[in-house]
């Protein structure tokens, strides 16, 4: 019974990975262009490890959204992975709290060279509203080297995808520092 209902719903839903043009045509064009660029740069996959270094969890909502069916990132070879050792790119959110500073440094060291770091959100880019205080070190680049900063509170999934692309199309980081 459940299988029948699931198949019925899947058929009824169809593919939503390309949003209907009348909904937001500008968005659609950008998504398609991004997907083509990722394929051109890579022809392969990019594996991302996300680290929340002190975020309010707003940025995490948009990372989840990016993994939803509208964006179809796995179909384009972009995948979030469970271990930094499997990752090409570290995506860091939040002002870096002092309680997360060591964990973030260790995660960065665990990503094999060559690697990229993308700082996501106003907090990751500048420290945001929290700034630097007794409990936080502020922006991500005060703790580990950052290749690309994606501002926004939180940045939309498309902005995030653009930031990831900006990082990977700029060439790989050769060495730490």
């Amino acid at each position: 019974m459940a299988t029948f209902l699931i198949l019925q719903q899947i058929l009824k839903t169809g593919s939503v990975s390309e949003p209907a043009p009348e909904a937001d045509p500008a968005l659609r064009t950008r998504e398609q262009a991004l997907h083509a660029d990722i394929l051109k740069v890579f022809g392969q996959a990019v594996a991302i490890r996300h680290v929340d270094a002190g975020s309010c969890n707003g940025c995490e909502l948009e990372i989840h959204a990016l993994n939803g069916p509208h964006y179809n990132i796995e179909g384009m070879g972009v995948k979030f992975v469970a271990s930094p050792r499997h990752a090409d790119l570290l995506l860091v959110t939040g002002p870096v709290t002092r309680n997360m500073e060591i964990a973030l440094k260790r995660a960065f060291e665990a990503v094999p060279e060559p690697k990229w770091v993308v700082a996501m959100g106003d907090c990751g880019c500048t420290g945001g509203m929290f700034g630097e205080n007794y409990a936080t070190c502020g922006k991500v680049s005060s703790v580990i080297p950052v290749d690309v900063e994606v501002p926004g509170c939180p940045p939309t999934p498309v902005a995030l995808l653009q930031g990831i692309l900006a990082a990977v199309s700029g060439g790989r980081r050769d060495a730490e520092g």
Binding site: M1, A2, L5, I6, Q9, I10, T13, V16, A23, D24, H50, V51, D52, A53, G54, S55, C56, N57, G58, C59, E60, L61, E62, I63, H64, A65, N67, G68, P69, H70, F80, A82, S83, G94, P95, T97, R98, N99, M100, I102, A103, A107, G128, M129, F130, G131, E132, N133, Y134, A135, T136, C137, G138, S142, C153, P154, T156
Partner: protein, 518 residues
């Protein structure tokens, strides 16, 4: 004034409201807490403040939930060694709040059973207390400190017992925290949480901010509960300054709060499917959630409705076309969720994983103070929108979702019921939205003033207490996330379950880390 079973004077915070204020000598706190417990009430929040710059001493504040509403007690502590009686032996949920109050202010719960630091890992030295007024607001991040500080987890010993240490960085895209499992084979004998990793000095950051900037920061205590925190903060400020908010603004706030509830519940229902390998559920619910986000962005300029609230009102409006579009989407989503609920009901694999997994029995929920949607899944029949409705909920007749089995299934069922109820409420709010202004000025009160806001967010009751100084700037703000009291129940819910079910159980609570880490 209601007759309360004590000779205590309760002052209503506002006429006809459900928040009561009382000054209480510390020596009477224990007896008062017992009275609250005897009548079936709960402790919702406990925090401290440094009042020495006001010619007083340190104070400890408690928010109790009782049959008359929320009772906010303030007790002034004396001496150079400020202390108050331990409340955790009456309300166990007070334990971590008391430990945090010590880390931040150096006020101690006398005879508290757990003296370990909670929010202070190693970021600042043991004898420094960041929320004291003589602690610099802009203390440098690079001040000297130990590299790490050991945390004595409680060990389970015996043949075949071993530990699994998880976090602070987790395998999935979730917030950081540490879970220490003691297991035999796959079965969980004990789980101990260690949180505080996202402690970013939020309460200190509030000090000295203007009232409008405070609303933005309040909304970022826990981003997924932006409207709940921003509204509770604004309510506190408006109470303190006796600001009268226009009707239309209050109705729009409720609209945003219900939209936030729908967005989070849709996301959670998708993840719950995902965690039992029903990817179909994730894809379907996240398709609906994305449609919801995109309409939110189109109508109000932000996918998560950030910064729509400000003290005195709201910053945005909805026109007739927007109302029609939102109404149509509510109708469509209600239909689609009905279909998906039918599939979840019919799916034997999902039902098998959901039912009898992660049980918090009603008596345990009552003893440990489980609150909000998780509480309602374990027979804890509290919903401020129902029992203590602020405007406009007093006009809406909200139906409470309630389940008694206390398992993953019950928490999913509460979400389903609340999605339908919130969609109904949104359509009612749109239909009956009063005309009028969007905001009124909050004029500065003469001298120091205080207020407390209380909002039923999607996760549970959100409380924000505010003190404004004589210059109209924020002097002390305590935002309280319901995850404070619900986290210890995750430790209870996983007992006897297998480790692979932990992600599912954890997701069924979906608690905030940033909210209580502050």
């Amino acid at each position: 004034m209601p007759k309360h079973p004590d000779d205590l004077a309760l002052t209503p915070q506002t006429e006809g409201g459900f928040v009561w204020r009382s000054r209480l000598e510390p020596g009477r706190l224990t007896a008062f807490a017992r009275i609250i417990q005897d009548e079936g009430g709960q402790l919702l929040a406990l925090w401290g403040a440094d009042d020495r710059h006001l010619g007083r001493n340190f104070t400890v504040h408690v928010a109790f939930l009782s049959s008359v509403g929320l009772i906010w007690t303030t007790s002034e502590l004396d001496g150079d060694q400020p202390a108050y009686p331990d409340l955790a032996h009456i309300f166990p949920q007070a334990d971590r709040m008391q430990r945090a109050a010590f880390d931040l202010l150096g006020i101690r719960a006398q005879d508290g059973v757990d003296g370990r630091a909670w929010l202070r890992h190693a970021a600042w030295v043991e004898d420094a207390f960041p929320l004291r007024k003589d602690f610099p607001a802009r203390a440098a991040c690079r001040s000297p400190r130990p590299e790490t500080e050991p945390y004595p987890f409680i060990r389970v010993e015996g043949e075949g017992v071993h530990e699994i240490a998880v976090g602070p960085i987790h395998a999935a895209t979730i917030e950081p925290g540490h879970f220490r499992f003691s297991v035999i084979g796959d079965r969980i004998l004990r789980l101990e949480e260690r949180l505080g990793y996202t402690h970013k000095g939020t309460e200190k950051r509030f000090e000295g901010l203007d009232l409008a900037t405070g609303a933005k920061l309040a909304g970022r205590v826990s981003g997924d509960s932006h409207t709940a925190f921003a509204w509770a903060y604004c309510m506190a400020v408006e109470t303190a300054t006796a600001c009268s908010v226009p009707d239309r603004a209050i109705w729009l706030r409720a609209l945003f709060l219900e939209m936030e509830r729908v967005a989070n519940h849709l996301g959670d229902l998708g993840f719950l499917g995902n965690d039992v390998a029903l990817t179909f559920g994730f894809v379907q619910f996240w398709r609906l959630k994305e449609d919801w986000m995109r309409l939110s962005a189109r109508l109000f300029g932000h996918r998560y409705l950030f910064d729509m609230l400000l003290p005195g009102g709201v910053a945005t409006d909805i026109d007739a076309r927007g109302k029609a579009d939102l109404d149509a989407l509510c109708k469509r989503i209600a239909g689609e969720v009905q279909t998906l609920r039918h599939i979840y009901d019919e799916h034997t694999g999902l039902q098998d994983r959901f039912a009898n997994t992660g049980i918090v029995a009603p008596d345990m929920a009552a003893r440990l103070g489980l609150t909000g949607l998780a509480g309602r899944a374990s027979s804890q029949a509290w919903d401020a929108r129902v029992q203590f409705p602020c405007a406009p909920y007093d006009r809406l007749d909200v139906n409470m979702a309630l389940q008694k089995s206390g398992d993953v299934l019950a928490r999913a069922e509460v979400r389903f019921t609340e999605v339908f109820e919130s969609l109904r409420l949104i359509r009612l709010l749109l239909e009956q939205l009063p005309a009028g202004a969007l905001h009124a000025p909050c004029t500065q009160a003469a001298g120091v003033c205080e207020g407390l806001g209380w909002v039923e967010g999607w996760r549970g009751p959100v409380i924000v207490a505010v003190r404004i100084d004589a210059d109209g700037r924020l002097d002390r703000v305590h935002p309280h996330d319901p995850s404070w009291q619900n986290w210890p129940l995750v430790e209870v819910g996983v007992l006897g379950n297998i480790v692979p079910d932990f992600p599912l159980i954890n997701k069924s609570f979906n608690l905030s880390y940033s909210g209580p880490d502050l």
